[in-house]
Amino acid sequence: MSAPEQNPSPHPDRRWVTVILGSGLAASVVSFLYPAIRYIIPPPVAESTNRSVVAAKVAELKNNTGKIFKFGSKPGLLVRMPDGTFRAFSAVCTHLNCTVQYRDDLHEIWCACHNGLYDLEGRNVSGPPPRPLETFEVHVQGEDVVVTRNS
């Protein structure tokens, strides 16, 4: 008995059906996935456009101390130098995003997370930080210490 006769190659029309059904299916999968993937990424939050903020009152900080202040959505660090002048930096460590602090014993800026050190110019001097801290301008206006982002 001979084997039942088989079509050696699929019917040409059949291939078109596969292609059309297949691309339809693929398109619908993409149309399901696309909204889901877009949904996962949240919409961007408008950055605060304020270039200036009152970081502290002059009387609030003694010489050789530091204070974390809110600058938009990020923390800033205001340092009152031993000579009474003010300096301001971004408080976000350039290594892995921790919040730095002023060390009055070292006269330097220190990140507790991975022991990074910056000098009072904001330069990364030791430990893992790859870049200096962003520096801000400081103006004393009456009782207020005003910090301004460099344009």
């Binding site: 974390i68 892995l96 893992p128 790859p130």
Partner: protein, 361 residues
């Protein structure tokens, strides 16, 4: 066997197919040899996972996943809810013991070379489960919304963000924005109580199915001794002999958990303040310490590559090689290669212990 049990078994067998349940239970045996003790750690990890699921469900009755409420709800649970301190402390201790048990299980499988053919997939599913368990640890750590957790999450997600090309996307995906905020807490809560449990349960089912299908591995040394007639091949049935031994271990583990929770209740710490400096002495959970300490040592730039990028690449490459071990160590029995992989394992354990110790100093 009591007649009620017999009757129940027969009733089920009529529905599942004659003898299939008994056959399933009888199929699994546990080899007896001088390394048999290591067979207990997989079951121990599984038991602690069950403890995690049960205590986790109980914690869900009071926990509120928002930055204004999370810390307070855990505080309420610890101080006002009867036995709340016990449930949370058991959950935290059991999490840590589970990770310890999983690491012991993984290293014992590694050194006894139980990953060798045909158990490559068992190893891979096991490694994926280990990564998921670490994901549980990382996401769960943030949920009480305390300072330590806040900065640990900042650092951990920032590391993910420094991956080239997809890093930024991945960071925003993890944090639910550019910064660690309430959106991050909501996401981590979702990962911790829905995404990861779903993945873990699926992988666990696969892992156990593979163990059931392939049976327990006998170490190559023991296998050789049996082949050379130096020792007989001995085994015990899994049900009930090994299972009852397992159960004794689990019972003891419950005792240890209760004691640890009562004597060392898990601390809550200080509520996270996004506008406060990272506190001195900050460090992650013990099982991430070796990564943490390595990051401290890598300088800002190595030649022209960013230090943190180098760290992430190093650890990712190491993890990939570790997962692929069954395909690299294919000629177990070929002494030099086998010895190399054993040496590698000892080096890895040594590295993890020494760097963790340096981080704690």
């Amino acid at each position: 066997m009591s007649s009620l049990f017999r009757r129940t078994l027969d009733w089920l067998d009529e529905r599942f197919g004659a003898g299939s349940i008994e056959e399933f239970l009888r199929h699994k045996t546990v080899p007896i040899h001088k390394h048999s003790v290591w067979y207990y750690f997989g079951g121990m990890t599984l038991f602690l996972f069950v403890v995690q699921v049960l205590t986790g469900i109980l914690l869900l009755l009071y926990y509120r996943p928002t930055p204004n409420d999370a810390f307070e709800s855990v505080q309420y649970l610890m101080t006002q809810v009867r036995f709340g301190w016990l449930i949370r402390s058991v959950h935290s201790w059991s999490a840590n013991l589970m990770i310890l048990a999983a690491f012991i299980h993984m290293f014992s499988v590694y050194f006894l070379k139980a990953y060798r053919k045909p158990r490559e997939l068992t190893w891979i599913t096991g490694m994926l489960l280990l990564f998921i368990v670490m994901g549980f640890g990382f996401s769960g750590y943030l949920l009480p919304w305390n300072t330590l957790a806040f900065f640990a999450t900042k650092v951990g997600t920032e590391m993910a963000g420094s991956i080239p090309i997809v890093g930024k996307w991945f960071l925003v995906f993890l944090r639910g924005g550019d910064e660690v905020t309430g959106a991050t807490l909501t996401r981590f809560f979702g990962f911790h109580v829905a995404v990861l449990p779903g993945l873990a349960t699926t992988l666990l089912a696969l892992h156990l199915l593979l163990v059931q299908t392939l049976g327990m591995s006998v170490p190559p040394g023991v296998e050789r001794a049996i082949a050379e007639g130096r020792q007989p091949r001995r085994s015990m049935p899994f049900v009930p002999n090994f299972f009852l031994r397992d159960a004794i271990g689990w019972y003891a583990a419950l005792g240890v958990l209760g004691a640890l929770a009562a004597i060392f209740p898990w601390e809550l710490g200080v509520k996270a303040d996004p506008f406060a400096a990272a506190p001195a002495g900050i460090r992650p959970e013990w099982y991430f310490l070796f990564v943490f300490q390595t990051l401290k040592y890598i300088p800002a730039k190595v030649f022209f590559i960013d230090g943190e990028l180098l760290g992430i690449f190093g650890f990712s490459a190491a993890a990939l090689i570790w997962v692929a071990i069954p395909f690299l160590d294919r000629r177990v029995g070929f002494a030099p290669l086998t010895r190399f992989f054993t040496g590698l394992g000892i080096f890895v354990i040594g590295y993890m212990i020494v760097l963790s110790w340096l981080a704690l100093r």
